[in-house]
């Protein structure tokens, strides 16, 4: 593979993991716009640890742990709010994280940090495949069942004994951990982190990939992130009109396939070659 393809592949992998981070909370029906904040925690966490002399795997693991601990602590107050309030609370969290980093001279403030250790495409790909496998596995368990049930009807699920709050906190924390992982991989791939990169747009796009791909199956975020990371590349011919086209494509797509591209009935049709009921 060419260096260019590997580079795009690595970015795609980071996007896929970020999309799964968004998926974990979305699967339980809540929109988390704090992905970028957790990615920043992961990226800076791993950067600081490796710059302090830790080996790369350990520092990535440490960063993921940091992101999940913060995620766990944040999830309790944040999940008290619902719907838009929760979304804005996560957004606010993310902005606070980035603003704090920008205020810390020890973290390089606006100049960013150079990260010791470079991570190439292949290890990132293996980690990403691991994440996909993990999420597919989780979705196949009763935990995944509960997530979908909570998204469809939280009170209905509670009637059957589902401790909705616990499930939501768990999902949020796993999402935070995945975002932290995405951030740590990003930091090591580019050997550099800059807080400004972890802005609202990053979170918004993670969510966008997931919703465009579809929430119904754990493969939706993968499809969404892959398609919509590569689509602007394919639209390169249209040059400056590319993103205009892209916006229009999103609108049309949502009109035609409002449940996302990759739905359960889509898979059903694919496997049975006939329309589902």
């Amino acid at each position: 593979m060419s260096g260019y393809a590997l580079q795009i592949g690595a970015i795609l992998c980071v996007h896929v993991i970020a999309a799964y981070a968004a998926y974990m909370t979305l699967a339980a029906g809540q929109l988390n716009l704090g992905i970028a904040g957790f990615m920043a925690l992961g990226a800076y966490g791993s950067a600081v640890l490796s710059n302090a002399g830790w080996a790369m795997p350990q520092s990535i693991a440490g960063a993921v742990l940091l992101a999940s601990l913060v995620g766990l602590c944040v999830s309790y107050p944040v999940l008290r709010a619902r719907g838009i309030y929760l979304t804005i609370a996560t957004l606010a969290f993310s902005e606070v994280v980035v603003a704090l980093i920008l205020n810390m001279e020890s973290l390089g403030a606006a100049s960013g940090l150079v990260v010791v250790g470079h991570l190439g495409f292949w290890p990132i790909l293996w980690v990403t495949l691991g994440v996909v496998a993990l999420v597919v596995f989780l979705a196949s368990t009763r935990f995944g069942l509960c997530l979908t049930a909570i998204r469809n009807d939280a009170q209905g699920a509670a009637v059957f004994g589902v401790r909705t709050r616990r499930i939501e906190v768990t999902a949020f924390t796993i999402g935070a951990a995945l975002a932290g992982l995405a951030g740590a991989l990003y930091a090591h791939h580019f050997s550099y982190v800059e807080a400004q990169r972890f802005n609202v747009l990053l979170s918004t796009y993670a969510v966008l990939y997931t919703l465009l791909g579809g929430l119904q199956t754990p493969l939706g975020p993968l499809v969404g992130a892959a398609l919509f990371t590569l689509a602007p590349e394919l639209l390169r011919g249209t040059d400056e009109w590319r993103y205009v086209t892209f916006g229009a494509v999103i609108v049309v797509l949502m009109l035609l396939r409002s449940e996302g591209l990759f739905t359960r009935s889509f898979i059903h049709n694919l496997m049975h070659r006939r329309p589902a009921t």
Binding site: F137, S140, T141, R142, F143, L145, C146, T148, A149, R151, N152, D153, Q155, G156, A157, A158, V159, F160, G161, V162, R163, T164, L215, Q216, R264, S265, H268, A276, T277
Partner: protein, 291 residues
Amino acid sequence: MKPKLFLHGVTLAFGGLTVIDSLDIQVMPGSRTGLIGPNGAGKTTVFNLISGVYRPNAGEILLDDEAIDAVPLDRRVRLGIGRTFQNLRMMKHLTVLENIMLGQHTHVGLWQRMLVPLNSPFNRAGLTETRAAAQLMGLSAHADLLADGLPYGVQKRIEIARALVTRPRLLLLDEPAAGLNSSERDELLSILLTQLPKEMSVLIVEHDVAFVSSLCDHVVALNFGRKIAEGRAEAVCSHPAVIEAYLGKDDDAADADAGVPAPALDETIVPQESDQKSERAPGAERGTHAA
């Protein structure tokens, strides 16, 4: 004999409106108790009180002589209270089998709940139980389809199957026959008569008086959140207060619904024995929880 369930002087008010007023209901162990009343009488609200959706403003709810008012919604199912919903609570992104499996949530262990794939051999017991419940309710043909979009009658049976796999000792059925055609209804009746364990106590809200009479040994009639009659089915159905409540229903129903014109066409008193009703009932989705 101690009652399985005892609602003692239960009162519930929303804002200034008293929806349930000092209600006493007893469900004896192993009994089949029916709860009837016109639209807006508060039948579903009673279910919501028992299953923990609402907390009473006064009075108490005893299960096996123990007050359960403080037990949160998600713990009541552990006490052996299973229920169905008048307005279907289908998880539309889950298949029929998965919807039923949701009912097993409380009696699988923590690790199994989190880390065992549902279709793996480790979940064989759960799958077997689910399949059995599906078969019992005649759902085997639909097992792997998404619940969303299945006919109304099928969704009703999924609800009951799901309530059954919670292994309830007290089963609350909220209008199980509403919207079913006559053959579906007869089939359901025979399942409920023959397949439910004898020791299971059942409380049924139903408009179909014939259905209630065939199934229940004890009937409670409600109007405006108050008990107006109680006793054997035939006796209650011929009780003057009950007849009055039903015959004057047009105005009363509208009033009792706090000015909301009930769209629920399937909630007429006299069961409609037409086959058209096997399709999704109009208004079933609109979510006007009868208060």
